[in-house]
Amino acid sequence: MRKLLIWLPLLLCLAFVGLFASGLFKPDDRVIHSRLVGQLLPAFSLPAAASDRPALASTQLATGKPRLLNIFASWCVPCAAEAPQLEALQKAGAQIDAIAIRDARPDVDAFLKRNGNPYARIGLDARSAVQMALGSSGVPETFVIDGKGRIAYQHIGDIRADDVPMILEKLRAAQ
């Protein structure tokens, strides 16, 4: 009994080390998915973020045709990397609206001039309120919205070139 007590701390320590190791080497799934997938978009109405694109409200995302809602910011580097893929999606017939996060109109204009402008409408979310309501945790993120204003799919991070066919497929499926 006494012997066991003496060695018990070492056994406990080894058990903890095992536990820590299992925690350390488990596959990383820190990505936070929105709980709104499958549900209606929260209602919002945002002012225009760019000088040559109209403003964006949630009602404009429920017109019967599925579309993409891209969350971006002019200060976000991956968003610039994502621009060519958005361009390709638009060429393939996708309609893309956007929300610019914590941005200013001149910055957005400059960003679009530099990286191309695939967007139909761009809303300005100056304090991330709509972003948070959407359950989005960073930029860039892209939502597939079905014709009824329901979120069909959430893509976290930038859209890579090999993601494009998958996104188009999701759009078709949302019909």
Partner: protein, 642 residues
């Protein structure tokens, strides 16, 4: 050049640590005095070199040297100098360098100032300290070099986490680290004592000042951290049971238990195995805390660098040192004869009770902190929140407080239960009076834990003053005052916590400029809201007149926006009065030009931190008292010899 000097100093220090380890163990094994004679100078030189390396890193940060990778990723030339300075340790590499610096300097101090230990135990302790340091040197040099250059150098840096841009946080981590790493000295003492089989009263007396000093700093660090979280996060709470907070609480609980058991060992030569075990556990908890915070295996409101490779390195160190120490414990402790016996009713028993309760709390906090990890290993994701900890740790903490009131009123070795009861009569009567008046005043309005908390706080407050009763105050030793102040501090903190959870008034409103909000006897007139700019942030600032009775005071809650990296923080407006704090947070704008405001009136909440400072002060008094007594005795002995 400065970066290279720092790196060179670090390599040299690591080499000296290796030398120190080899010298100590070769010298002890072969009984070679000439080898042992070189151990102390090696330890001192090692301490000096780590200090040089750390000073080099501070210089790089203050100069905003953008050719150093660490400065680029954690600083910005526009930052106020205080935060450039604090940026030195506000990141992974810098804080690890701070860690080895504190270890090196503490090792040098043990080499220079430790006189109470017998020579072999002293050398084994220094060897142990060198062995621990080596692992951390390897960690720094092979996986997180703070002096790495970047080429080409960018024009400017990327800033520091804005949550950390606060004077409180500039000095909170170093204080905590001094405490964490101070416990490494106790750990080394335990290793040295086990290796030389000298676990006795002399060992305890030698270890006690180091434990006390580490404990005082840890207490201050935790108190400061709690106040920082309270005013900076804008959530109005003072303890969130967050993994990072628990990471500092667990070593504190172990160190508190150690502090009391080391006193038993020093005074009565009892609890030998237990004291050694606690010394190992206390530093282990520092390492576990560091691991949890740095590896990112638990998520927390405090965002730190998340990096599994670094995590596995610390895990390796943890397994090696803690596992090694516990194996040594198992192997050697049987040969250490158990010390003096004591009766059931005695000061020793009370301290054993204290130790057990603290250990149980420690275990529960550890389980609660790791529970998400355990369930995840079996495929479920859960989180353990404050309710678990409050409900589980709360009642035991209250029991601990009761033991704390009774402990100092019990005699060493043997006492009569009746006599102890008699001495406890006054605190008991006062507790009874408080509970009666509190029931009349607030029955049904406050929960059972806050109720008990208030009653016990008052009783403990009275009980902790009792050791001074009928004593000649001027001739009472300083460490007795230390104990009284520290225990009184616990009562004061408990009273603050109980008042906060029992009587806080919270109000959430959406107001527009011109509105007047009434709550808890205060009247707040919302004057206006306007943007303002600071050094490296812009903010929306509300101006409000807060009035209670007489004249009004202008308060300004802010919502701050930092551009690099883009982050919003809220700066709560705090108005401190003798009987509590008014706490106002500015929230989001809602429709119609109205703003969300969260207003708290927190009666006597400041007592929580006042108590924390008193506990640390008590520890400091005890430390000075013990040390001064040692010096006096030595001085008298010398006088007598002359």
């Amino acid at each position: 050049m400065i970066a290279e000097t720092g790196l060179a100093a670090l390599w040299l220090a690591a080499a000296l640590a290796l030398l120190q380890l080899v010298l100590a163990f070769a010298g002890l094994k072969g009984g070679k005095t000439e080898l042992l004679a070189a151990v102390r100078p090696a330890a001192v030189a090692q301490g000096v070199l780590t200090a040089i390396a750390f000073a080099a890193l501070i210089t790089l940060f203050l100069r905003s040297d953008m050719s150093v990778l660490l400065v680029v990723t954690n600083s910005h030339s526009m930052k106020p100098w205080l935060y450039k300075f604090a940026g030195t340790w506000g990141n992974h590499e810098g804080s690890m360098l701070l860690w080895v610096t504190v270890m090196g300097v503490a090792g040098a101090a043990v080499a220079l100032f430790e006189r109470a230990l017998q020579r072999n135990a002293h050398m084994a302790t220094l060897g142990g300290q060198a062995a621990i340091s080596l692992g951390f040197y390897a960690f720094l040099l092979f996986s997180s070099n703070p002096f790495a250059r970047i080429d080409p150098a960018p024009a400017d840096g990327q800033g520091l986490n804005p949550l950390l841009q606060d004077p409180g946080l500039a000095f909170h981590p170093p204080t905590l680290y001094l405490g964490y790493v101070g416990l490494s000295v106790a750990f080394s003492f335990a290793i040295g004592a086990l290796l030389t089989r000298q676990v006795d009263a002399a060992f305890a007396r030698a270890m006690r000042p180091w434990v006390l000093a580490a404990w005082v700093l840890l207490t201050l660090g935790i108190t400061a951290g709690s106040y920082w979280a309270y005013y900076e996060l804008g959530w109005g709470g003072w303890w969130f049971w967050d993994p990072v907070e628990n990471a500092s609480l667990m070593p504190w609980l172990a160190a508190t238990a150690l502090l009391h058991s080391v006193t038993v060992l020093a005074t009565r030569d009892a609890l030998r195995a237990w004291t050694v075990m606690l010394a190992v556990v206390a530093f282990s908890m520092s390492m576990v805390g560091t691991f949890l915070v740095r590896s990112g295996i638990l998520t927390s409101v405090h965002a730190f660098a998340v990096d599994p490779t670094r995590g596995s390195f610390i895990l390796g160190l943890l397994a090696l040192y803690i596992g090694g120490a516990l194996a040594l414990f198992g192997w050697r402790i049987g040969s250490v004869r158990e010390g003096a016996p004591f009766e059931l009713v005695s000061r020793e028993t009370m301290l054993v009770v204290n130790n057990l309760l603290l250990t149980v709390i420690l275990g529960l906090v550890l389980i609660g902190t790791l529970y998400p990890l355990m369930t995840e290993a079996f495929g479920h994701k859960v989180s353990v929140g404050a309710p678990y900890f409050d409900r589980i740790a709360g009642p035991i903490a209250l029991a601990l407080m009761v033991a704390m009131a009774a402990g100092p009123l019990t005699r060493w070795r043997k006492d009569q239960a009746q006599a102890v009861g008699k001495r406890l009569l006054v605190p008991l009567c006062i507790a009874l009076l408080v509970s009666i008046s509190l029931s009349l005043f607030a029955w049904g309005r406050i929960g059972i834990l806050p109720f008990l908390g208030l009653v016990i706080a008052v009783a403990v407050g009275v009980g902790s003053l009792a050791p001074l009763w009928k004593r000649k105050l001027l001739r009472t030793p300083l460490f007795t005052y230390g104990m009284v102040v520290a225990h009184l501090g616990c009562a004061v903190s408990l009273a603050g916590m109980a008042c906060d959870s029992a009587f806080t008034v919270e109000k959430l409103v959406a107001a527009r400029p011109g509105d007047v909000i009434q709550t808890a006897g205060w009247s707040l007139r919302f004057r206006q809201i306007a943007p303002i700019a600071g050094d490296n942030w812009t903010a929306l600032q509300a101006e409000m007149d807060a009035r209670r009775g007489g004249s009004s005071v202008l308060i300004r809650p802010q919502s701050r926006f930092f551009a690099s990296p883009p982050t919003t923080t809220s700066e709560a407006a705090l108005l401190t009065r003798w009987d509590g704090q008014l706490y106002v947070v500015l929230g989001e704008e809602v429709e119609g030009g109205r703003w969300q405001l969260r207003i708290w009136w927190k009666p006597f909440v400041t007592l929580i931190w006042l108590g924390g400072v008193m506990i640390a002060l008590g520890g400091a008094l005890a430390l000075v008292g013990r040390e001064r007594r040692g010096w006096l005795m030595k001085w008298r002995a010398r006088e007598a010899r002359l």
